[in-house]
Assembly symmetry: C2
Homo-oligomer: 290 residues x 2
């Protein structure tokens, strides 16, 4: 159903659910499936950012990985249609399976507690661009919530593209009970965008758990001196100004870059580092807010 819908959406350049004449009925069915799926998921966490490249997908991947390692049943859903990084970060190279009754998409099981779905894992050609306008993306996201065999979950982590456009809006409208985690880097150009994300959260009434500051400092691998690649302290300052929780500061680590390329998130690897310690604090802070 989903593979077919992706093909239909590509052909029609419109909304995947506008294919047949029984559109109203199909939409009703989809709404029911979304409701059923969401009822089985305890917490939905929506990871947002104002600016791209602040490491939102790394944070999503490592958050899902950490929660699964703590024993929570966790799902991770990558709805970034144009730049889906999650599949790569988990080394997902094959197309996702379809359930025996052909109705549902089977998420990739990374470990016994972690299931992942990415639009990337629906594409035959990984390098092909998905040139969709808004309505097609909206249909896709609704399917990812309703037509995926998530089962019972403690957490569903949703990784949406940066900004305040179609995709984040659709996520909020489809999963109104989601709780936002806002990711930023410390410099002002990023903070300007994050203030827009916070304005977005307020406007669409998305409750936020707080702000995570990423790439906040970096230890030179040669001399071990600390370098502020993107300045420092901006995340905490902005949290204070905006009356939001500050969930913690995570240092830049080239291991995160290579882990992303290798297909295993750092939090699923062995070994402690400043990154893993800082990340564990962020996860604890998120759990404490629930």
């Amino acid at each position: 159903m989903i593979h077919e819908n992706v093909d239909n959406a590509k052909k029609s350049k419109g909304c995947p659910s506008q294919g047949g004449g029984d559109m109203a009925q199909k939409q009703k069915e989809q709404q029911a499936m979304i409701k059923t799926n969401l009822a089985q998921i305890k917490h939905k966490i929506f990871v947002l950012s104002g600016k791209g490249g602040v490491g939102k997908s790394s944070i999503s991947a490592n958050l899902a990985a950490s929660l699964s390692q703590k024993g929570y049943k966790t799902g991770l859903m990558d709805v970034d249609v144009h730049g889906p990084s999650i599949a790569h970060m988990f080394g997902m190279t094959e197309l996702l399976d379809i359930s025996p009754d052909q109705q549902l998409l089977m998420p990739k099981e990374i470990n016994e507690n972690l299931k992942v779905v990415s639009v990337q894992a629906l594409m035959q050609d990984k390098d092909q661009a998905i040139i969709w306008r808004g309505p097609a993306k909206t249909g896709m996201i609704q399917q990812f919530v309703g037509a995926v065999e998530w089962g019972e979950l403690d957490f569903l982590i949703i990784d949406a593209p940066p900004g305040t456009g179609d995709e984040p809006l659709t996520v909020v409208q489809t999963i109104p009970e989601a709780l936002g985690v806002v990711v930023t880097t410390p410099q002002e150009v990023a903070l300007a965008d994050i203030r827009k994300s916070i304005s977005f959260c307020k406007t669409v009434k998305l409750k936020t758990l707080g702000i995570v500051e990423n790439m906040a400092g970096f230890k030179c691998p040669h001399c071990s001196e600390c370098i502020d690649l993107f300045k420092n302290g901006g995340g905490e300052r902005t949290a204070k100004e905006q009356g939001l929780n500050f969930l913690g500061s995570i240092p830049f680590d080239t291991r995160v870059v290579s882990a992303g390329d290798k297909g295993v998130p750092v939090m699923l690897e062995d070994g402690e580092s400043e990154f893993t310690k800082a990340f564990a604090t962020v996860v604890d802070n998120i759990l404490a807010k629930l």
Copy 2:
């Protein structure tokens, strides 16, 4: 006209040009204005990226700055509705003026050769999110091309949001003669997205001048050893694989981060550095391809 349209678009949550009954006439006028404006601009360069945060806006800002310093009449148009960084990078804090006949938006003149327009400079509240779905963004971009007093230009640099969605598609459809410059960082997760951008360029028949690799290496300010923050060589390798020109590799420089926050692009400041030398080579390579 533009300020009013922004307000209308926000109210209607639809396309800015759907406000009146004389829609067809207005659209016809807009098309004519777009045609007139584009006829006065020699080269249109569309700076794209697959992934956010690869420094696309920094490259756009510094490219426009460099061209203006070489004596070329240059315009810079920021069409990233959700995360407009360009206004901040040029220290634009005030709303843009309207022409005496109330018909055109006056770009901000940074120096005698450089004019800048950003959606940010149309917003009364800089921290407000623009929660627009696709059609509103399409309308805005068309206005930025047609309803801005660009005058005669040697270059118009267009900074669009990352990905292959509504905004890049609208830019290509509105300015079919634009030439693409694709920006990436060297790591595989970014290259995966850039291959999508290249696929996008081929699909929509956008000619590309080549690939720029950004944040390609970094000299520790303490010990001067080189650190590959995001790996290295991936941009050149991808250019070769895809049969595209490689326009050059630009190192990471914390000065670019602080220049962005300060409101003066590095290429408009005095003083030579590895960044400015590498950037000058990229500009020369772009000019050589025209």
